[in-house]
């Protein structure tokens, strides 16, 4: 028996029913306490095209979609043709032999044809082949039939007893057929006795918002960020969150600012194009000193780009969003669980420092799915609203003397919410004095402008010590240090394991807080490293340039990918090997699976 590390690939055209068998499999795995990682490579069409879902499970945490497929479930000929060449010895291909012809398989790959016509002659409906294939897979990995029966019963209950019986019957036929015709795979599927939760990054971000106490959420639909909106809308009434779909992203961020000004924790999410529209208002939030959180789920750009493909190409956009200098906090969660955790932390910071906060996710994280120990989903998080007078509508009146933008050493001035007696004031996007009076035009006073601008910018000095500095993961004395940011953590860590097997000791410095950056801590870590390679999902090395600007560190090598698909571990292994061998400084892997 091998240690459990099983990857199932389900491929077909949009509309062929890939999600349902994927969900059922994932559910079965997490109910046994097994870890799951799922990545769906898809296109922006409702029907047709090619979709490929990789579902990987293990008794250890699964860090990425991996490199291999153990079970291929092609739902059409196209999938068979595209993916067969990547199957390795010991793997199996399950397919409907009525409509799909097998190609030439590499040695040791088990072809498992089944005939829908023969196994389910009386059943109509397009999705029979999925049920048959699903049942057969479960037999191959020795999951008891009763588990599938229970899930199908739950799923078809609403359609009546006849539908349940029919589907369970079809499944039984597939299961039994597999028992007698196919060879079981060398995996045992343990039951840890514990149940895990399974969610996508967008859900994690939305739930993190709920935990943070978000009271106002608005968005304009844009892939791959819409999942946050969908979760929020579905749970709005249960949680008491005002959720609105708005006319455009300019409206989104401005509405969020309006709600935030009244005292609500306000959040929104978009992707790069929508974020571009929000730029001016992010500066406005900083100028008026109103805390607000915006999530940018990056997709491949520029412009409309590739809406269903991942990239880390917006780093420079978010750092430069909006005119002028202004305080902002930017964080890139490093895994799906972190998407949940980072939101309450960021809200406490933006409330404390009264400035915008940006979460830089990407399609890989936001639409990728992962198991998580439910104990890690702690909704009972500390809440720090910062210095707010009269949060509950009461506060000692100060008779008009309130200075909303009082110059303080920390740069933070007490905030008063509209409606509070005694603190009437005006906030402005024009430059203003301590009391909110404009100094933008005729009253401009260079000394005042400098003082108030410094007050705002000083906040950033206060933020940095509150952020956890990055720590080196892995052996301290490694041959090579892989530096990444955000979503690449999992794949880098898995590549490290593979490198170790090849005799190359690697460690990883993953950057989570991007602005402000712990430059000193990074310099002291990286100056002790033997070789530094930066891994990122973009063409120009946006993080490498940022790191050089902030620390003067010039990495010895770069591994970059910008074809729309995320890294697979072997891409990084190949890159490290090539760079350490001196054959290149900039390695761009070729993504071999055509999706």
């Amino acid at each position: 028996m091998r240690r459990l590390d099983l990857a199932i690939g389900i491929g077909g055209a949009a509309g062929q029913g890939i999600a349902t068998p994927g969900d059922i499999l994932a559910r079965i795995f997490v109910r046994r306490g097994l870890h799951v990682n799922a990545y769906n490579a898809y296109q922006s069409i409702i029907r047709g095209g090619h979709i490929f879902l990789t579902l990987r499970t293990s008794d250890q945490p699964v860090l990425s979609q991996g490199d291999k497929i153990d079970v291929l479930m092609p739902l059409n000929q196209d999938t068979m043709n595209r993916h067969l060449k990547l199957m390795r010895a010991g793997s199996a291909v399950l397919f409907n032999s009525d409509t799909i012809k097998p190609g030439v398989v590499p040695d040791g790959v088990q072809l498992c044809p089944f005939s829908v016509k023969a196994l389910a002659p009386t059943t109509r409906g397009d999705l029979v082949q999925n049920t048959l294939a699903l049942a057969a897979v479960l037999r191959l990995i020795k999951v008891e039939f009763e588990i599938l029966e229970e899930i199908l019963t739950l799923q078809f209950r609403r359609k009546g007893a006849a539908a349940v019986a029919e589907n369970v019957g079809v499944a039984r036929a597939g299961y039994d057929y597999a028992a007698t015709h196919f060879t079981a795979l060398p995996f045992s599927l343990p039951d840890t006795g514990k149940r895990l939760a399974f969610f996508e990054g967008n859900q994690a971000l939305a739930m993190g918002g709920a935990a943070a106490g978000v009271r106002f959420y608005c968005a304009y639909p844009m892939s791959p960020s819409s999942g946050v909106l969908h979760w929020m809308a579905r749970h709005a009434r249960q949680l008491g969150i005002m959720v609105r779909q708005v006319e455009d992203e300019i409206g989104v961020i401005n509405m969020a600012i309006g709600a935030a000004h009244t005292g609500c924790r306000a959040m929104c999410a978009t992707s790069g194009g929508g974020f571009a529209l929000m730029s001016e208002a992010l500066g406005a939030a900083a100028m008026m000193e109103i805390p607000v959180v915006c999530i940018n789920v990056q997709r491949a750009g520029p412009a409309t780009g590739v809406p269903t493909k991942t990239e880390q190409g917006d780093l420079w956009q978010v750092m430069g969003a909006g005119q002028g200098d202004y305080p902002r906090i930017i964080v890139a969660p490093t895994n799906i669980g972190d998407c949940f955790k980072v939101v309450p932390t960021l809200f406490n910071l933006v409330d404390k420092f009264q400035c915008p906060g940006i979460i830089l996710s990407d399609l890989l994280l936001s639409e990728g799915r992962s198991s998580i120990d439910p104990a890690e989903l702690d909704f009972n998080v500390p809440i720090d609203r910062g210095d707010v007078v009269g949060l509950n509508g009461d506060g000692p009146p100060v008779n008009g003397g309130f200075k909303r933008y009082l110059v303080t050493e920390s740069g933070v001035s007490p905030r008063a919410l509209p409606g509070t007696p005694g603190y009437v004031h005006v906030v402005a996007t024009d430059e203003h004095d301590e009391d909110g009076v404009l100094i933008s035009d005729e009253f401009t006073d260079p000394h005042k402008r400098q003082a108030i601008h410094e007050k705002r910018m000083r906040k950033m000095d206060g933020v940095l010590p509150l952020l956890a500095p990055p720590v080196l993961h892995g052996p301290a004395d490694a041959h090579v240090t892989l530096v990444g940011w955000g979503s690449t953590e999992g794949v880098i860590r898995e590549a490290m394991q593979q490198l170790a097997e090849a005799g190359i000791v690697a460690n990883n410095l993953q950057i989570r807080w991007l602005v402000p950056l712990h430059a000193e801590a990074i310099v002291s870590i990286l100056s002790r490293c033997r070789a530094v390679i930066i891994v990122e999902n973009n063409y120009s090395g946006q993080f490498a340039r940022y790191l050089r600007a902030e620390t003067g560190i010039v990495a010895g090598g770069h591994i970059r990918k910008y074809d729309g698909e995320p890294f697979m571990p072997h891409h990084i292994v190949d890159g490290v090997t090539a760079i350490l061998a001196g054959s290149t400084k900039r390695y761009v892997p070729v993504h071999e699976i055509q999706v």
Binding site: V30, R31, A197, F199, Q203, M207, A210, G213, R215, F216, H235, A236, R237, Q238, L239, G240, I241, V243, V246, E247, D248, I250, G251, N254, M255, A256, I257, G258, A260, T262, G263, C264, A266, E280, A281, A284, M288, P374, L377, N380, R385, L391, N392, G393, G400, L417, P418, G419, T420, P421, G422, Y423, V424, H425, V426, V427, A428, T429, D430, E442
Partner: protein, 304 residues
């Protein structure tokens, strides 16, 4: 007056508010003779006459000469971005629906750059009082074409005369779903005060498009121009509950330009009244944060 505002005011209702109390920290920097002075005066008068406490009012503007207004008024205020006041105001209204929110700005701000928010705020019937200081020109940027500038008008950006048709906010607002649509003129102060009071008391989106002549850059649509042409709707026998008549009067432009209340509809709930999340509860902004343990458990259970 809506119930909610009454509730907020209850704590301090004995304090009588005068026009003097509503004076902001600084004096307006508008050109002498600018129509915007008349709007500011009328707004203060309306607030005082309705007895609204300054801290219960939030005045939100965009950018432009006219949008500087919140700084000249002693209420809570937000001087936001060019064209974005209505979006900010929508968020603020839903964030704290006990506030009385007044939005002020120019025609370029509202009908040009803010055109999209304008249409959508009206179709949502957000409970806002929107006063547009319509001078048919861009004042702050020194005299370029505005979306309401007349066809043929010579401006800095149309030295040979504009060839574009102006936007007509009155029929546009009626069609988009505003439930209180009025037009005022700074030369008719008493009527303007009444129109603003009506807007503040109206539950839903109230537009008060106001001719507020720019004495510096618009030499066509002057105070005198409007004085000669404006006619009060109430004197024209107009029925503001008749939408067809309202549309028809809204299109009148020439020797007679009607001012007054074109259209009012009181049977439609405002957005916040339709939002179940608000229900009977107080402002969202004042509600405690945190997720109850049983709800948290239910949310996690969904994932398992």
């Amino acid at each position: 007056m809506k119930e909610t505002t009454m509730a907020t005011m209850a704590q301090t209702e004995h304090v009588k508010v005068t026009v003097k109390d509503l004076k902001g920290k600084v004096d307006p920097d508008w050109c002498p003779g600018c129509g915007d002075f008349g709007v500011l005066a009328a707004l203060k008068q309306a607030i005082a006459e309705l007895g609204l406490q300054p801290h219960t009012v939030l005045t939100i503007s965009g950018i432009g000469c006219s949008s500087n207004l919140p700084g000249y008024l002693n209420t809570y205020g937000m001087h936001t971005l060019h064209g974005r006041a209505l979006a900010v105001a929508t968020g603020a209204q839903l964030g704290n629906h006990h506030l009385k929110i007044v939005v002020t700005g120019g025609d370029g701000d509202g009908y040009g750059i803010g055109g999209n928010h304008f249409v959508h705020a009206m179709r949502r019937n957000v409970d806002l009082t929107y006063i547009v200081m319509n001078n048919q020109i861009y004042g702050l940027t020194t005299g370029q074409l505005s979306p309401t500038s007349s066809k043929g008008m010579n401006t800095k950006s149309t030295p040979f005369g504009s060839v574009e048709n102006p936007v007509n906010p009155i029929p546009l607002a009626i069609a988009a779903g505003a439930t209180y649509v009025a037009r005022g003129f700074t030369g008719q102060q008493k009527q303007l005060v009444e129109l603003i009071k009506g807007g503040l008391q109206h539950r839903g989106f109230a537009l008060i498009d106001t001719f507020s002549p720019c004495v510096t850059y618009n030499h066509d649509n002057t105070h005198e121009f409007f004085k000669q042409r404006t006619r009060k709707l109430e004197e024209m026998g107009h029925d503001p509950t008749d939408v067809h008549a309202a549309m028809e009067k809204g299109w009148l432009w020439g020797e007679v330009i009607p001012i007054g209340l074109f259209w009012r509809r009181q049977d439609l709930p405002a957005l916040d009244q339709l939002e179940p999340v608000l229900g009977a509860g107080g402002p969202l902004a004042h509600r405690p944060l945190g997720v109850a343990p049983d709800i948290a458990r239910a949310l996690i259970a969904e994932l398992m």
